[in-house]
């Protein structure tokens, strides 16, 4: 605890040292202290854009909120973003989507870690369990609500999640932490780092494990389920997860102008996957382990050219290898032998960027990037009378971009930008954006923006393995009734070697918004409100009749989102988020016209997409710091009922409410160490909380964390 300043102490120090250390006297009382030359440290690219000047609505989750939330997994943090849908297909397979639920492969958002794009082929979704960072490695998360392709590259259609990890020099010492709790929660981490004048580094070694969700022991609340519904209930009890990971980040800054960064990470993840479905059908996905080894290397160089200009170069490589061994059943009878399946995904990207200030009123960022994605997948049958299949694919794309920030007058800020990309399939798209921020009344900012963004079809959407599916059916069911199509055995998706959806094009999103940001210093409050209207055209959807992905879906989303942040004195903070959203699509028209097989799960649902968006959702986070390093925080999450996009009626999600609390006590200077003990209780009131799949029951659980630093 900080000791309130007592000047007598300092005076003693001041004058005692005068007598004892004459040698220093000349230096320390010299006028040279006022004439020191310093390098420019807070350069334009280091300074984060204030919310009132951002061209989009932005939610920032900072370190304090991360701690106060009590969350162990990164994906859960997005519950603190208005309008965000965070769910889990299995305990080990979270997905994060904006504008309501999607299928379990949310793939309409850009997700970046320190500028490294981590949505990967073949599905273009983020494998949250395979990211080699822990929640404690994160400094801050910026979530852009709305498209931002002009500044964040391809696939920034619905929004952008930008995770900024802690600085190489954030830790000067060592820290160990141990978490133990219910549902097999067992996390251990060791961190060490050094902060120097020219070289900083930090390293994390961590092990994380839990046993996933509880299982449904009774029909979902308020429902008496029928046998056909029980038959569609996914029994996914095998959803434990163990991850062993390492990450390293170092920065070398030999002088005032150059900064070199190196980061790498490794993650080995073993997930329990598969289902024990109750329906007596072909089951190619029984309980088994999915083993993933992933890693990345990122190199960066930034050079300060003069006070107003900066050059940056970044290269990264991501590698993810996964494999699984699956027994195969037909009509509940195990067939001899096993299926062995593996997938290798990699991405290399190089980006060059130049930030240039023409004046203090106008700043431009422009640059170019080139990316190569590779995917290889193999399926082998140990004793099966079919040959295996494999495929390997390359995709090269490039983009050029420019973004200008022009302070027309002190009251008006105009952000304009565009990105031109050529994707791996040869599609060329231009994604422009324009936003005007008006600060006519001081402290109150009005923002109007229009932007267009495109989503490149995922590799699997272009090459859905329909041919393979028929091969299975004719061989093993002999033309008998088939209950559901096989996408692929196991969990890993191996795309078809040939393009099966030759006509599929990028889908387009047009977004319009009006935002208001009000600062109320007298109340220590910040209010952020956004009205939006997003329209998807040429939307990619699955046509089960032609067995291809097509571009005939159109959808519209309208709504309002609000965030209020307020501080009470210096010791407590409150964040409240709220979203009200309506959506509709032409999916029922497409279904009626025989162009889509996506049909409502219940007779009362007229539009699949509309029903998949919770009309209202809210979250609240309150934290309070007491004396003696005691702190308390509580959070509340609310989500209106919804029908998950591609699930059956049994997975209907009723209204969700959940309260989490965290209580912590810190210790300071015990034998040169400091530490903390914290207790987190999630779903404190056991409010029947489920996620996406009816069987993903999240009962009250608690865990304790001990951490020690020196």
């Amino acid at each position: 605890m900080m000791v309130p300043f007592q000047y007598r102490q300092l005076s003693v120090v001041v004058f005692a040292s005068l007598l004892t250390q004459v040698a220093w006297a000349a230096d320390e009382s010299s006028e040279q202290n006022y004439f020191q030359e310093f390098p420019v440290v807070l350069t334009a690219s280091r300074l984060k854009q204030p919310q009132s000047e951002a061209p989009n609505a932005m939610t920032v989750i900072d370190r304090e909120m991360i701690v106060a939330s009590g969350f162990r997994s990164i994906s859960d943090l997005f519950k603190l973003v208005p309008g965000m849908y965070v769910s889990y297909y299995k305990g080990s397979q979270p997905f994060v989507a904006y504008h309501g639920s999607t299928d379990q492969y949310a793939r309409r958002m850009q997700v970046m870690i320190d500028g490294r794009s981590v949505y990967l082929p073949p599905i273009s979704s983020v494998d949250w369990a395979n990211l080699p960072i822990t929640i404690d490695d994160i400094e801050r998360i910026e979530v852009i609500r709305g498209p931002a392709a002009a500044s964040h590259g391809a696939n920034s259609t619905q929004g952008v999640i930008s995770i900024i990890t802690r600085d190489a020099g954030y830790l000067d010492g060592k820290r160990v932490s141990y978490t133990r709790g219910e549902k097999g929660i067992n996390d251990i981490s060791a961190r060490f780092g050094r902060r120097g004048d020219t070289f900083d580094y930090r390293m994390t070694l961590a092990y994380r494990a839990d046993n996933g969700y509880d299982i449904l022991t009774a029909p979902p609340p308020g429902k008496s389920i029928t046998q056909p519904q029980v038959n569609t209930l996914l029994n996914n009890e095998n959803d434990s997860n163990q991850a062993r990971l390492l990450n390293f980040s170092a920065g070398y800054h030999p002088n005032g102008v150059d900064q070199f960064d190196i980061q790498f990470g490794l993650n080995r993840d073993v997930q329990g996957v598969g289902f024990s479905d109750k329906n007596p059908t072909a089951n190619a996905n029984p309980y088994h382990d999915l083993i993933g080894n992933s890693g990345f290397l990122q190199l960066g160089w930034k050079r300060q050219l003069d006070n107003a200009s900066e050059f940056s170069l970044r290269y990264y490589h991501i590698q993810q290898n996964q494999h699984e061994t699956v027994p195969y059943f037909v009509l509940n009878t195990p067939l001899p032998g096993l299926i062995f399946q593996s997938a290798q995904t990699s991405r290399d990207e190089i980006e060059v960027q130049h930030t240039l200030s023409f004046s203090s009123f106008n700043r431009i960022v422009y640059g170019a990037a080139y990316r190569t994605d590779r995917f290889g997948g193999q399926t082998a049958f140990s004793q099966f009378p079919v040959t295996g299949f494999s495929g390997s694919f390359n995709s090269n794309e490039y983009r050029v971009f420019a973004h200008d920030e022009w302070r027309i007058t002190p009251k008006f800020l105009l952000n304009t930008g565009a990105m031109f990309e050529r994707d791996g399939m040869g599609h060329q798209n231009l994604s422009p954006r324009v936003a005007l921020n008006a600060n006519v009344i001081p402290l109150h900012t009005l923002r109007m923006g229009v932007s267009v963004a495109y989503r490149t079809p995922a590799m699997i959407e272009e090459r859905y393995p329909v041919n393979r599916f028929f091969q299975f059916r004719t061989l093993y069911t002999g033309g008998a009734a088939i209950f559901r199509p096989l996408f692929a055995p196991g969990v890993l998706a191996v795309p078809d070697q040939v393009v099966t959806s030759p006509g599929v094009r990028p889908e387009r999103l047009l977004s319009r918004e009006i935002g208001y940001l009000g600062q109320f210093p007298n109340w220590d409050a910040l209010l952020d409100v956004r009205f939006f209207s997003d329209q998807v055209s040429s939307g990619i959807h699955w046509n089960g009749f032609t067995l291809a992905f097509e571009n005939e879906m159109s959808a519209a989303y309208q709504g309002v989102e609000a965030s209020l942040k307020k501080s009470f004195s210096n010791d407590s903070d409150l964040t409240i988020n709220f979203a009200h959203e309506l959506a509709n699509s032409n999916l029922s028209t497409l279904f009626a016209a025989g162009k889509s097989t996506t049909q409502p799960a219940s007779p009362w649902i007229s539009d699949v997409l509309g029903a998949s968006v919770p009309r209202n959702s809210a979250s609240l986070l309150y934290s309070q710091r007491f004396s003696k390093k005691v702190s308390f925080s509580a959070s509340y999450y609310y989500q209106d009922s919804l029908q998950p996009y591609d699930r059956g009626s049994v997975d209907y999600q009723p209204i969700q409410r959940r309260v989490d609390v965290r209580l912590a006590k810190g210790f300071h200077d015990i034998g040169g160490m400091d530490g903390e003990v914290s207790l987190v209780v999630q779903n404190l009131f056991n409010q029947g909380y489920t996620e996406y799949i009816a069987n993903n029951v999240f009962n009250r659980r608690s865990y304790v964390t001990f951490s020690l630093g020196w």
Partner: protein
């Protein structure tokens, strides 16, 4: 030296004439004005800027001679009417002389100047124009820039030489408090920094190169930025590096004040009491302010607020 004297007059005559000439020159110069010897601690840019401005601002009648204080046996300083010592090194050299003219020390930190006379009540014939700002002005500036500050963070080391009670009083008078954290050693700097930043609304830099130096400034600024705690620096250099604001007096401004004091000395034949610089410069980093969502007042507004707070400097 005029060559014809040598050719017309020889031996003793030459010497006599030279002596006469010297006496004549000396007399006439006294009639014209003061002989000032300038001792510069260093030849770097701030000292050059001081010299240039002083030279321009002094009336032509006042003779200005520049001397290197490091040079041994600088007896001509002794023969001057006034020695202006620029910086601590020059000041120490100037006051070391046994028989010396009055000394005006300029561009010296108050703490450094005071340390030269430790144990002596007053030093006669010596005065100073300090380089640093009085605490009251510094605090008035701080509150003009950031009116809502409650906790002012301060890092100090065992080498810090500051009389801080005026700072404490001044902050307390405005309803705030000073959160001070000692830095035990250079490698504990960042632990101390984390501690002070977690309990402060602003970090006030002090002249202590053990804490604030070219090597450490990067981590200090990055850490304080991460904590969203702005740094108030001591110079334009701090602001360029990423400090939110700074109040300081430029060598040129000290030179102008020095010129006025020399003229006053010429009239009164005595030095004014040691004092702080009359004028000051304000530097603001609008980019950092924007990023931290701090609404910076304009420089005029800051000066107005400082005047309202009773701070009379210009």
């Amino acid at each position: 030296m005029p060559v014809w004297i040598k050719s017309e007059w020889k031996g003793r005559g030459t010497a006599l004439l030279l002596l006469c000439l010297f006496a004549l020159m000396s007399r006439s110069s006294r009639a014209e004005g003061l002989a000032v010897t300038l001792l510069l601690s260093d030849s770097s840019a701030p000292y050059q800027a001081f010299f240039e401005t002083l030279r321009q601002r002094l009336p032509a009648s006042i003779r200005l001679a520049v001397q290197d204080p490091a040079r041994e046996g600088n007896n001509s300083a002794v023969s001057a009417d006034l020695v202006v010592a620029v910086g601590m090194k020059a000041t120490e050299a100037a006051i070391a002389a046994v028989h010396r003219p009055p000394v005006l020390a300029v561009m010296v930190p108050k703490a450094g100047y005071d340390s030269l006379f430790l144990g002596q009540k007053t030093a006669s014939g010596i005065s100073a124009i300090y380089l640093d700002q009085p605490w009251e002005r510094q605090v008035a500036f701080l509150y003009a820039v950031l009116p809502d500050v409650e906790r002012v963070g301060l890092l100090y080391s065992s080498e810090t030489r500051l009389e801080v009670s005026p700072l404490l009083n001044s902050v307390a008078n405005r309803g705030g408090s000073v959160v001070a954290q000692s830095v035990q050693s250079a490698d504990r700097l960042f632990a101390s920094l984390e501690k002070v930043l977690s309990g402060s609304d602003v970090l006030l830099a002090i002249p202590d190169s053990r804490i604030y130096n070219a090597a450490s400034i990067r981590n200090i600024l990055l850490t304080s930025y991460r904590h969203e705690v702005p740094l108030i620096g001591l110079s334009q250099g701090y602001v360029n590096a990423g400090a939110l604001a700074a109040i300081f007096t430029l060598p040129e401004q000290i030179a102008e004040q020095t010129a006025r004091q020399i003229v006053a000395f010429d009239i009164k034949k005595g030095l004014a009491a040691p004092g702080y610089p009359e004028n000051f410069t304000v530097a603001l980093n609008t980019q950092v302010a924007r990023s931290l969502e701090i609404r910076l007042p304009s420089e005029d507004e800051i000066r107005k607020r400082m005047r309202n707070a009773g701070e009379v400097g210009r």
